[in-house]
Symmetry: C2
Subunit: 328 residues, 2 copies
């Protein structure tokens, strides 16, 4: 049997493991993401590759390749981290494959983290055998991965599928990406918290909801988690904010359906941990909008692979792309 070495680089932690083609993770280790400089991350990756390769050798497991998933804009062909993310410090302009190839003879594949999620779900999860699907990860931001005609969408240099940054309102709030009214400004965790802060800013004291008046004075304590909790407790301001997030997301999804004619939309990320009701509301709103022939057949589902999806998607790359595709 063949095995792959996968590494999932996130803002908080780096997960690494050895996996077979069916997605069974045999060995898994997690590390804190170094917070200072890219050199420290690269050093950690080299150590991980060395140590897991040794482990595989000792246990007689044949490795076919190394697959890495990381936040940021990745040039897949060149195996390079182009521009990173606010969540990983100094993580840009890193010729990662060139560097790591000096330490291993295995072929190395490097891909964006949400692309890798889409790949995992399409290969082993809810999107099995689906040739046209869109994966949206709603967390701090909104990330996207698209499989169209059976292929991962990358674009000219791997920067495609920035689906959090399609606009739903050209008069909407400025996004930190430089655009306006991006779906991320409404439907990410950050967006939900932002909208709540704005709602309570103008909340009249006379209304007398002591909780809202408290957060009016402590806006920095408002998180999306809190908004969902307040909503569950019947708070109408929080409910309005969540409905706006769901409405904006639904508009973005319908634009994506018109663009890609997919069979499946997969929703994941921290915001989705709120539960199935969130997906149901999105499904309902999407069903009210757009071109019937395109929208009606589309299924909207949650991710299936859970916490290991990123690692699984990273590790599966050597099989999906063929071992001979790698530069080394």
């Amino acid at each position: 049997m063949e095995y792959s070495l996968g590494i999932d680089i996130g803002g908080t932690k780096i997960a690494a493991g050895i996996m077979n083609r069916e997605g069974s993770v045999l060995i898994k280790k997690t590390f804190s993401t170094p917070k200072d400089k890219k050199d420290a991350i690269v050093q950690l990756l080299e150590n991980i590759i060395f140590s897991l390769s040794e482990t595989a050798k000792m246990e007689g497991k044949k490795l076919v390749g190394i697959g890495i998933g990381t936040a940021g804009q990745i040039d897949f062909e060149k195996g390079k981290v182009l521009s990173g993310t606010a969540n990983i410090k100094d993580w840009n302009d890193v010729p990662l494959r060139d560097i790591l190839s000096k330490k291993t003879d295995l072929p190395i594949f490097i891909e964006n983290d949400v692309n890798v999620l889409a790949l995992a779900e399409q290969q082993l999860g809810v999107g099995r055998n689906v040739e046209n699907l869109i994966c949206l990860a709603l967390g701090t931001g909104v990330g996207g991965g698209v499989i169209t005609g059976g292929h991962l969408l990358r674009g000219a240099w791997g920067g495609g599928a920035e689906l959090g940054h399609i606009t739903v309102d050209m008069n909407g709030p400025l996004c930190n990406c430089g655009f306006q009214g991006c779906v991320e400004t409404y439907s990410s965790g950050t967006g939900i918290a932002r909208m709540m802060r704005e709602e309570i800013k103008s909340y009249p004291e006379s209304e007398g909801n002591s909780e809202l008046l408290y957060y009016q004075k402590h806006p920095e304590e408002v998180t999306s988690r809190l908004v969902f909790e307040l909503m569950s407790a019947g708070n109408v301001v929080a409910e309005k904010v969540v409905n706006t997030a769901i409405n904006a997301l639904s508009f973005a999804i319908v634009s994506m359906i018109h663009t890609f004619n997919p069979s499946l939309i997969i929703l994941g990320g921290g915001v989705l941990h709120e539960g199935e009701w969130f997906i149901q509301k999105v499904r309902k709103r999407v069903g009210e909008l757009g071109i019937r022939s395109l929208v009606d057949p589309v299924e909207i589902k949650g991710t299936q692979l859970g916490n290991d999806a990123g690692l699984i998607g990273a590790a599966i790359q050597p099989w999906v792309y063929g071992v001979d595709v790698g530069v080394k």
Copy 2:
């Protein structure tokens, strides 16, 4: 030398011709599009195929296949017109390849008209050798065609790239597609005329522009052509409308750039006949928006192939897709 028989089915006319691989149209004929029923269109297509095949035979030109481009949603794999367009009456649910295959032994390829435009420009026009491009046709509506990773984007059943129906304002005007704030409602010829009608509806009589007061009473005479003329003559209301069209189009284009990471945006269609200044304004506005690493490298250009682009794109299909791809 090999030749292809191309047919371009539009709302007003059907163009047909014989072309070589380099895009030289040797013979070209045009016909009025039958206005009554699909049977009449199919009959005309059968006649065209018979007569042009005979012509080719007599002139000793070897035909390798037939390529058809038509408005509407097309199932490319099945060679079927699924749902048509308001511009061609009764043009839906037509198993066109099955029908036409009874009359010819040549392989037949059927594709959406704007997809075919994108193909023509990528094969022989301004997008030569570009693997990631988006083609937008701004006419009565806004049509889209996308080439990503060297492949035409089709989606699950060929309904992809409905780029006129991505939203730029979730609170915007209802679109006849069932969605809201579609870029088509602002930046198509119809959209420009609609916005002008709304602007002059509330135009105060006291302002005393006699032309606007005339069209206030005759809104049915307002066309996009007129809006552009009024703008050229210095009318500020018309200028405002055109600027809104350009702004909405620019927002949609930036969403598309974030989605597809293309190298090139190709603009065509009747609205573009206004001239290079229109493209320049779009270029400028797009350059002010979005993610720099994605937006800055993108070129925005007009179509190169002119009036025959649809016919050329239709006819080129047998070579692009390989003769053995066709069902027959």
